[in-house]
């Protein structure tokens, strides 16, 4: 039991340390630009087309 918990602690404590190191590295080397996740333009186009269709119908119905 002690060994088991020991491993779990050791593992997660290591992870705490690594996360800290990573965060510092990321912070210095690649300060986050305020970018929006890119998506394949094909998908975006498709979704936009759908959205436009939904809205067009909505507006049309609403204005009846």
């Amino acid at each position: 039991m002690i060994i088991g918990m020991g491993i779990v602690y050791l593992f997660l404590a290591l992870l705490v340390w690594i996360i800290g190191v990573t965060a510092r590295l990321v912070g210095t080397m690649a300060p986050e630009p305020t970018q929006i996740a890119k998506r394949s333009s094909l998908e975006v186009e498709k979704e936009e087309a759908e959205l436009v269709a939904v809205i067009a119908t909505a507006v049309e119905r609403h204005s009846r």
Partner: protein, 376 residues
């Protein structure tokens, strides 16, 4: 007339055995809990239904060649629990944990429940009528991790004949989190501690979120390969979610794929709820140990948070969020938030509690790896 006799001989009525009737009742009981009490309905509904189906006399749905016997292959091979874990990974946001990595230690502490139960299960052998091997004990102990797919994965490797009872116990106690945890949390904290407000979480960059699953996987590969299937698929799901370039895979992993596998997994678990495997004194032991494991894990998380406050008094942690370390995402984080708001309605602990909550998932998987490495 012969045909009539043949038909009668093939009816359930003429073949019903008392224990099958009892197990069907257990199945309907699970359905009741799932539907009426909303106890983890996504899993307990298929599990309960699977229990009913597999105990219909003469139908042989869970026997070789029956539908549920085929579905069970998905558990036996590990495919279903691992795919669920991938889906859970795709639904998990590690942001709160990365913003405050110390909460990982709370997720670690809550795994005391697992190892405490391991001893408890071995101790139960002293009671006449109970007999657990070390493998059984390890499979039961993992209930204390409050993580369904991990429990099913470990049980399928170590103690397949206990799988039904273990899965039912794991999901039931996950559903009971709002009842089991608050009294323990209140008992172990002072009113002042419950009022502690925590600093707002820092922003976590997208790059950190993308790197994290890779880092976690490397660490697992180096230190605990026995946990690599579980943590690996979890990291894959999370990477698919965070990388931002495969959104269509992420959407499917979080929805249709996990839904289909959930139905199949639940039915297959239910097929292990047969009378001869479930109606034993051991099942009682499993249910009692499961409740103890949960309570023990909750207490460890809270006490760990208090200990951390003693060690580093700046940036105090509200010890209530330690209880969220048992995983049971997002239920236990909500419980921590709710108990905190009883003291101060303007203290929002939810995001802070999500850190130990997702850390608990990793912690359980790590503990599962330790058990598999030591016991198998």
């Amino acid at each position: 007339m012969d045909a009539l006799m043949q038909l009668w001989a093939s009816t359930g009525l003429s073949n019903f055995q008392a224990d099958q009737a009892v197990m069907m009742a257990v199945g309907f009981g699970l359905l009741y809990l799932a539907i009426k009490k909303e106890f983890e309905p996504l899993l307990l509904l298929p599990i309960g239904f699977g229990a009913v189906l597999s105990n219909i006399p003469m139908a042989g749905i869970a026997e070789e060649g029956g539908l549920l016997s085929y579905l069970y292959l998905g558990i036996k091979s590990g495919i279903f629990p691992l795919l669920i874990f991938m889906g859970v990974g795709a639904m998990t946001d590690f942001g709160p944990m990365l913003a405050n990595p110390k909460t990982l230690l709370l997720g670690a502490a809550a795994q005391f429940g697992i190892f405490g139960t391991l001893f408890g299960a071995l101790a139960l052998n002293l009671i006449p009528g109970m007999s657990f091997t070390i493998k059984d004990a390890a499979a039961i102990a993992i209930i204390g991790g409050a993580d369904g797919p991990t429990s099913i994965y470990v049980a399928s490797k170590l103690a397949p004949e206990l799988l039904g009872a273990i899965a039912v116990a794991a999901y039931s106690y996950m559903a009971l989190v709002p009842l089991i945890q608050p009294p323990i949390m209140r008992a172990l904290t002072t009113p002042e501690e419950r009022l502690i407000e925590m600093a707002q979480l820092r922003h976590v960059s997208r790059l950190e979120k993308i790197i994290f699953p890779g880092v976690l996987l490397i660490l697992t590969a180096m230190l605990l390969p026995s946990a690599a299937p579980l943590i690996g698929m979890f990291c894959l799901g999370n990477l698919i979610r965070e990388c931002g370039v495969v959104d269509r895979l992420s959407k499917t992993a979080q929805n249709e794929m996990i839904n289909v596998v959930t139905i199949f997994l639940g039915l297959a678990v239910g097929s292990k709820l047969s009378a001869d495997q479930f109606l034993r004194t051991e099942t009682l032991g499993i249910l009692v140990l499961g409740a103890l494991a949960f309570s023990f894990g909750t207490a460890s998380g809270v006490l760990m948070a208090k200990l951390m406050n003693v060690i580093s008094p700046e940036n105090k942690i509200n010890p209530l969020i330690g209880a969220a370390g048992v995983s049971a995402v997002p239920m236990s984080a909500r419980v921590a938030n709710k108990v905190g708001q009883e003291s101060n309605p303007h203290n929002f602990l939810l995001m802070h509690a999500m850190g130990p909550n997702v850390a608990g998932v990793i912690g359980s998987a790590v503990a599962a790896g330790v058990l598999l490495a030591l016991v198998q």
